[in-house]
Amino acid sequence: MLEIKDLTVKVDDKIILNNFNITINDGEIHVLMGPNGTGKSTICKAIFNHPDYIIEGSIKYNGTELTKLDVASIGKLGLFLLAQNPVEIPGITNAELIRSALSEKENKPIDIFKFNKKLNEVCEIINLPKSFVHRDINFNMSGGEKKKNELLSLFMLEPKFIILDEIDSGLDIDALKEVGNALNKYYEMEHPSILIVTHHQAILEYFKDYQVSILQDGHITKSGTSDLAKEIEKHGFKANVINGSKNDE
């Protein structure tokens, strides 16, 4: 379970998030929606205690205070961030990264035979050409390829808490379908908690039950269920956020 209480996040002197509170239970899918510039991506990185942020308040994952941990330790706890624009790293292959990450997580060398076998299986599941395993991380890939490439790491590292930061951004209909189906498949297999940050309803069609919160001015102004996301899609944020009451379902 992830519990964020009284969170304030600043960059230099600018307050991005203020009095932000949210609880996401084990296995829960929680959707965070909001207009541009309200701090949605900030919360994604703040959960990982991003070094650029000044963080006050509490972020606890299964009782562990994340604000006191470094980024790597948070990753090792089983949290996974899939960013809006995944970084390109020429010179490091997916296989190198995943192998090293698994080795550090398990604190022992990994069995190469099993590793390769699982890589092949994952490529089949997410419909990713096997050649991607030995390609440099997200380098020279299209937007859709990058998202699918990130799914390779996700399936291999088996996180228990997934943060999807506008994963639907830059995806065409076919790519969105592949990514959505793959995420749904992972959810069915592992039942992780998922925090989905998005502007749109489209990616949500791949999930059955989820909670929705609206972020405005650095804190949550309204919460509800999937109906709220549909309302947002239909009428926009202004109609739903201005004068909206918290926890109004």
């Binding site: 990982f48 090792k76 996974f80 970084v87 790293i89 490091i92 997580k105």
Partner: protein, 228 residues
């Protein structure tokens, strides 16, 4: 921190290399002629000077993997219709100056000088002087200098990109960047559970050896160890 190349061909005198892939080292200053289409992977421990001369129509892919332990000079000369892609992958140990000189004497040649340099530790400093000269009355030459230094902690890197042009018909560019680790890349790797040390080691290897073809990687021990 160290680099190693295995199965190297030791050259001790003036040599002409013809088409093929070569792994070389040498004990003394060396003069080398390049003929036809040559890939040259070079590992140098001693820091001796080297002169490389491309004969007409020669193509050279140079991978110069070098632990800099003393100041030295690399001189490359192009003649007519040459294609030169030179990669200098350098680990500096100590307080040194490396001079790279390219003389483009003929016509219709294309040359790129790609440098990646890091210092072994805080007390190391490197001064790279890279000078490309395009001779008078030559035509249709292209020169690109792409020179990058990765700063570790408080070490010092100075890179001087120089292009001296004595002709009107040439295309020449130079690019220099010196900086620390990319914080976004570091955050990405660490968010996957890699320790700071492991993430930096991976980025360090990527910075130095990204240009190295896969078929050459197995000849070189790419472990960059004991990074702190």
């Amino acid at each position: 921190m160290g680099l190693k190349m295995m199965n190297k061909l030791l050259l001790v005198e003036n040599t002409t290399l013809t088409s093929g892939t070569y792994f070389i080292s040498y004990k003394e200053a060396l003069n080398l002629n390049i003929k036809d289409d040559v890939t040259l992977a070079h590992y140098e421990e001693e820091g001796n000077n080297i002169n490389i001369n491309l004969l007409n129509n020669a193509h050279l892919n140079l991978y110069y993997v070098y632990e800099i332990k003393k100041s030295s000079t690399i001189t490359i000369t192009t003649n007519n219709s040459n294609l030169l892609k030179a990669h200098f992958l350098l680990l500096n140990k100590g307080d040194n100056t490396l001079e790279i000189k390219l003389n483009m004497l003929g016509n219709s040649s294309e040359a790129s000088l790609n440098l990646r340099v890091i210092n072994e530790n805080n007390s190391s400093s490197i001064n790279v002087l890279c000078t490309g000269k395009i001779a008078a009355s030559t035509i249709d030459n292209t020169l690109l200098e792409d020179l990058k230094g990765l700063l570790l902690n408080n070490s010092s890197i100075k890179i001087s990109p120089n292009i001296e042009v004595d002709t009107n018909e040439v295309m020449a560019n130079h690019l220099v960047t010196i900086g620390s680790f990319n914080t976004q890349e570091l955050f990405y790797l660490k968010s996957k559970g890699l320790s700071e040390k492991e993430a930096k080691n991976m980025l360090l290897k990527a910075f130095l050896f990204n240009a190295l073809p896969k078929e050459l990687e197995e000849k070189i021990n790419l472990e960059v160890i004991n990074f702190e």
